[in-house]
């Protein structure tokens, strides 16, 4: 077998194992709560018989290990359960069956929001990645100039500011003082693409500010690291223009760390998205997550947590695999 394929498969298996471990952690955390689902639905005044009945219906009387595998199976098949906010006593006992549709499942709640969040992350990536690459290359080209220092200070400030500070600054200047973009991203289904993009732009710009800085700094560092190598010296002595030296000669070799940083920053977006969605009231999965945390809506919290962790692991895995693939020494072994 090709050695690269072997490493990649190894990494994929490791990722799967991590995901499994994470699911155990989440399951244990959620199940360490006092009381359980049945009591949460029925409230304080429930009779022991009613609690026992619902427990039996939901399989809560099974041992924890059995329940874990059941839960894992449910998660994998997309059955994320029913949120506490939607569930009530009636819907479980079945008396409300004649009233038509049952309670909204967590999966139904999350699906459209997940799409919205992916849209936000996508718009951010489309703006941030080319911008940070360009800025990073320019900073490396004009290193130690006024431009480089300004960019360094600005990016360090952006990277270390909290997301909500950047968000409110952008709202202040782009939405309130100069009403160019809407400060609230009320997005609904079936919205035309242009309109949707327009309303997503401000949260996307906030996230762009947060991630661009990091990517730009790493691009600059990766390129500058290479500039001392002999082959760059050679290219310079040939008389190639500095821009060409960097783009044609330094960049391809700096690609592995840059790709790594891009993937890691996209993973970082997952955390950033939570705060930014709350600021802009963007109907994404992060906002749902925070609302559920406040309402202690356990099924939604654990589902969101699993999705976030899964996406995080996936992107980290991607960073790993891509940086392996972009390394020519690994691709063409002797």
């Amino acid at each position: 077998m090709h050695p690269v394929l072997k490493i990649v498969i190894q990494r994929l298996l490791l990722g799967l194992l991590t995901l499994l471990a994470v699911s155990i952690i989440i399951f244990v955390a959620v199940n360490s709560l006092p009381g359980d689902f049945a009591q949460a639905i029925l409230g304080q005044s429930a009779t022991p018989e009613a609690v026992a009945a619902i427990r039996r219906d939901l399989g809560l009387d099974q041992p924890a290990v059995t329940r874990y595998f059941q839960w894992l199976g449910d998660m994998l098949t997309g059955n994320l359960g029913i949120s506490f906010a939607q569930a009530n006593f009636a819907s479980f006992v079945g008396t409300s069956a004649e009233s038509g549709s049952g309670p909204v499942t967590v999966a139904q709640q999350i699906a459209p929001r997940f799409e919205n969040t992916m849209f936000l992350a996508g718009v951010t990536a489309v703006i941030a990645v080319p911008m940070s690459l360009t800025l990073g290359i320019l900073a490396a080209l004009f290193r130690n100039s006024v431009f480089d220092r300004t960019a360094n200070i600005a990016s360090l400030s952006a990277v270390s500011s909290p997301e909500f500070f950047l968000a409110y600054i952008l709202i202040l200047f782009l939405a309130v003082l100069h009403p160019i973009l809407p400060s609230l991203s009320n997005i609904y289904e079936g919205m035309p693409f242009g309109e949707r993009l327009y309303r997503t732009l401000l949260p996307a710009l906030t996230l762009t500010l947060v991630v661009t800085a990091q990517m730009m700094r790493m691009t600059r560092a990766a390129i500058i690291n290479l500039l001392a190598s002999p082959y760059i010296e050679m290219a310079r002595l040939k008389g190639i223009s500095p821009m060409r030296v960097i783009v044609k000669h330094a960049l391809p070799n700096a690609l592995a760390p840059i790709i790594n940083v891009i993937a890691l920053n996209l993973a970082y977006l997952i955390t950033g998205v939570v705060v930014v969605e709350v600021v802009f009231v963007y109907p994404g999965i992060g906002q749902l997550f925070v609302d559920s945390v406040k309402n202690r809506d356990i099924p939604v919290v654990q589902a969101c947590c699993l999705i976030f962790a899964g996406a995080y692991i996936l992107l980290n895995l991607m960073a790993d695999v891509l940086s392996i693939l972009s390394n020519p020494r690994l691709r063409h072994p002797k």
């Binding site: 360090l156 270390s160 909290p162 003082l177 945390v293």
Partner: protein
């Protein structure tokens, strides 16, 4: 639409100006090498910089030209410019003082220090003083409620201010200045305590894993790997949900401290173990083992002193991270609980005021002050850490 056309015209003008600048330079200086070899990108950059500076100066002039009481869109830009100049001067003076006062080593340190680093050290010092002496510096108590709610910051009675409350009061009538000062104590203090707990926990485990090796290393290491696979903020939110089933109010604040400490100790563990593993193979550790020293001696007297430098740099970055995460949690409403004054919560409570910025900029300043206080500290710590890393790595280019 007209804004875009304006932008396009401005770009074309700047692009032309860059070309003219280079051409003029070449003609006037008789093709001096500097202008002869100047690439168009550099010329464009100069033109762009000049244009930006001109725009700033013009905006600053406009901000004074608009009479008080009228909508003033340049108000915040003016404050930002003032703040920038003031901080730059303060940092410069601080560095100047540092160069002539203090011990030989500290004077030497200040001599090679960039302005950003001295700014960072100054801000950290100011925050530390504010946090320590908060009860003496704050004019009122953090929970004190006054009859006058929603007093506008600025202390100008004609604009709805009150000189008794220089930064105004919030929706239920608490003095914002006092709460900001107490916020330094609560937010920074809690983040500091959390970081210390994280370091004690992660550091001890990391050194233990490095010294003992074997199955201890494997078990702790793999557990940490799994814990680190969940993003910190997400994991913290999950654990806080669980914790909120048991404790409420200030108990939740304590629970959050421990949750954040545990989550962050995983990151500290990684570093401590990596540093420790390199130290454990040294000869002096071997010698200590042969002398029959115990585990405690090995960790605290042999490994710890040799691992201080990387751990200290990490402490700065970790503190920033914890501080930002706790502020974010508070902003989301699940972090530091009332009645403790805290910057993240203040931003969340007063955020709607930003929408008045067009008509009454002073009102909108209140939430930005709290958010700015958070940003200022993290930026300052990052500047210092950046300088330290730059110094220790010996990067010249």
């Amino acid at each position: 639409m007209s804004a875009w056309i304006g932008l396009l015209i401005a770009l074309v003008v700047i692009a032309t100006a860059g070309w003219v600048f280079r051409f003029a330079g070449q003609t006037v200086t008789g093709n001096k090498p500097y202008f002869r070899d100047m690439s168009y990108g550099v010329a464009f950059g100069f033109a762009l910089g000049v244009a930006l500076l001109a725009w700033l100066v013009w905006s600053y002039y406009r901000s004074w030209a608009i009479p008080a009481g009228q909508p003033n869109p340049y108000f915040f830009l003016r404050i930002a410019i003032h703040g920038f100049i003031l901080f730059a001067i303060a940092a410069f003076l601080f560095r100047l003082i540092g160069r002539y006062v203090g011990t030989g080593t500290s004077r030497k340190l200040f001599r090679s220090m960039p302005l950003t680093a001295s700014f960072g050290i100054l801000i950290v010092l100011v925050y530390a003083l504010l946090a320590i002496f908060a009860p003496m510096l704050a004019p009122y108590g953090q929970e004190q409620v006054f009859a006058q709610a929603n007093v506008v910051p600025g202390g100008d009675p004609t604009l709805g201010g009150n000189p008794d409350f220089p930064l105004g009061t919030d929706q239920i009538g608490r003095d914002i200045l006092s709460r900001l000062i107490y916020g330094a104590r609560n937010t920074v203090g809690i983040a500091f305590v959390t970081t210390i707990i994280a370091f004690l926990l992660g550091g001890t485990l990391g050194f233990l894993a490095a010294t003992l090796g074997g199955w201890v290393d494997q078990v702790v290491g793999r557990t940490v790997d799994a814990l680190m696979a969940i993003p910190a903020l997400i994991f913290a939110l999950l654990l806080i949900t669980v914790a909120s089933a048991w404790v409420q109010g200030s108990g939740l604040t304590v629970a959050m401290i421990f949750i954040m400490a545990v989550i962050d100790s995983t990151r500290v563990f990684r570093l401590a173990r990596a540093v420790g593993v390199n130290i454990v193979v040294m000869d002096y550790i071997e010698a200590a083992k042969l002398r029959g020293e115990g585990l405690g001696y090995l960790i605290f007297r042999e490994i710890l002193p040799n691992a201080t430098a990387p751990l200290l740099a990490e402490f700065g970055l970790r503190f920033c991270f914890v501080f930002l995460t706790i502020s974010s949690l508070s902003f989301l409403g699940v972090g530091i609980q009332p009645p403790l004054a805290d910057w993240g919560t203040m931003v969340r409570d007063m955020a709607p005021f930003i929408n008045y910025a067009q008509f009454a900029p002073q009102i909108a300043a209140a939430p930005l002050l709290a958010a700015g206080a958070i940003a200022l500290l993290t930026v300052a710590v990052n500047f210092v850490v950046d300088w330290m890393l730059h110094k220790s790595s010996g990067l010249k280019e």
